[in-house]
């Protein structure tokens, strides 16, 4: 046992730590099929319903000259990101509640490595979701105005958005420590999606307060960034705002999550 002990005093490298935690995170995601299937199906069901039920909206004067389905394709990407947030958060909260977090705290694992590794599973889910939504959209007749290159940029933007939201979920888990608290915030995240330009272009929102909220809501710009690649082509302003807000979300949420991790991972 002595030789094992001697080796163990040399802490593993950062990458090795991240890889070990990420491997666990991915394994957990793959083995809990409900966590993959429901976030995939629910947005697609809504996409199918709303894509058809709101097709009359295309007859509103000033509506972009595309099908409503093309207009609405951006929404599943956002809904998927919200599910990623909740899953990332509840997974980490479960570790805190069960004491597994303490087990990890007793190893040389760095807080940043734990955070990065935990988000590994979220990235896998985000990749799978984004590809599926895009394929379903294309299969149902939605043309991607920005072409194949635009589709790849769309996937990148969607994954970045999911990553940012996963940071939010992780922050909530570290701050509150229970799955119940994380899930309690889900409706709030859901509300931010509704109070945006998810259903109609901002210039067609008649009710002034709703228009104002949608204008100040960063989620509107995330949706519009994704949507621009589908219905417009290469819209520099929409992409700049979309990527800008996505990066800001990722930086802020992960920054706060790192601080919350320091507070949670109290070790002398």
């Amino acid at each position: 046992m002595g030789d094992v002990a001697a080796e163990a005093l040399n802490a593993p490298g950062l990458l090795e730590q991240v890889a070990a935690v990420a491997r666990r995170s991915v394994m957990r995601t793959i083995r809990q099929r409900a966590l993959l299937v429901f976030p995939l199906l629910f947005p697609l069901i809504l996409f199918a319903i709303n894509g058809s039920a709101l097709s009359a909206a295309t007859r509103i004067p000033g509506f972009p000259p595309v099908s409503y389905r093309a207009f609405a394709l951006a929404v599943p990407f956002m809904q998927g990101a919200l599910f990623v947030a909740v899953t990332a958060g509840t997974d980490l909260a479960r570790d805190i509640e069960s004491g597994f977090f303490n087990r990890l705290a007793l190893t040389p694992l760095r807080g940043g490595a734990l955070l990065a590794g935990q988000l590994g599973g979220s990235i896998v889910v985000a990749c799978v979701q984004s590809v599926v939504y895009l394929l379903v959209g294309v299969a149902t007749g939605v043309g991607i105005a920005s072409g194949v290159g635009g589709a790849l940029v769309l996937l990148a933007l969607s994954i970045l958005i999911s990553f940012g939201f996963a940071g939010v979920g992780t922050l909530l888990a570290l701050r509150f420590g229970t799955g119940e608290a994380v899930q309690g915030f889900f409706p709030l995240l859901f509300v931010t999606l509704f109070l945006s330009s998810s259903s109609l272009p901002r210039n067609l929102i008649k009710v002034q307060w709703f228009h104002d909220v949608a204008t100040y809501n960063p989620v509107s710009y995330l949706i519009e960034g994704v949507r621009s690649l589908v219905i417009t082509g290469w819209d520099a302003r929409a992409l700049a705002l979309g990527f800008g807000f996505a990066i800001a979300l990722a930086v802020l949420s992960l920054g706060f999550a790192v601080a919350a991790m320091k507070n949670r991972l109290v070790r002398t």
Partner: protein, 339 residues
Amino acid sequence: MNMAGSGPSIEVDGLVREFRKGPRAVDGIDLAVSPGEIYGFLGPNGAGKSTTVLMLTTLLPPTSGRASVGGFDIVRQGSQVRASIGAALQEAALDSILTGREHLLLQATLQGVAKATRVRRTQELLERVGLTEAADRRVGGYSGGMKRRLDLALALVHGPRILFLDEPTTGLDLQSRTALWSEVSRLAHDEGMTVFLTTQYLEEADALADRVGIIDRGKIVAEDTPARLKAEIGNPTVEVVPADPSAADAFAEQLARFGVPIRNGRDSIGVQLPQGEAQLAEVIRALDQAGLRVASLHLHQPSLDDVFLAKTGRKLEGAAAENEPEAQPAARARGRRGR
């Protein structure tokens, strides 16, 4: 600071832990554990056992006082302490989605066990704790005993010299408990591992520990080998349950003729017999002459519970009920850390 490898494995000097609300969970404890010793930390729920373990394993900073584990200061040399210890804390803390083998490999990786050694070490530990057949099943399907064995294996993966076990057999059946005792005893006596074991079970402390520290309300009230602690009490105790609970005062008055009567929370009153079992007849006569009817009467030899009773005026069971609002320090500590 002790040089690692010489002096006590664990040394504690005036350790205190306060939480924002409520009394001190740990109120100035001193103890020393020699290398290769099994030290039993016995006390009711809420006494401060788990809080002490959290501090010694560096998961909770002390409010004041000092301690060293494996020769390293718990506050200033936390990472060295963690590298020297293994811990199986109050919750089994396992991931129900992973298999036993995956747990050990993950733990070995995070502890820095070399890649070449990990697989061999994992297999070795699985064999040692008797989980080879279940190794590739998800932990969610393990029994309580299997989970605790895996917990122990995880604590040993990096070959520590000091092992912390926080109530390791709570909730286990007798067979699982005995198996775990056997393994802990072997680790200490055959491999020279120092074991710091917290428990609320008298028989566990009695059976396993080389020395026992009894903690109540954050303070150590007694510390010695189980045999010497019991010998200190010496005399047998008679415990009487009045047929009419409202006559408890009258019973206490009669029993006061033999020693200091101690009320045991609910309906019984006990007293030590300074002249031993021979005084039992006198006690019965005294109660009878006073016209007091007895529901039941027990005579028992000193146990660690009697030691606790003598030191605190309460039985271990009654103490647990009283301390209940102060219980779950680990949960509170986790919650507070989020603020």
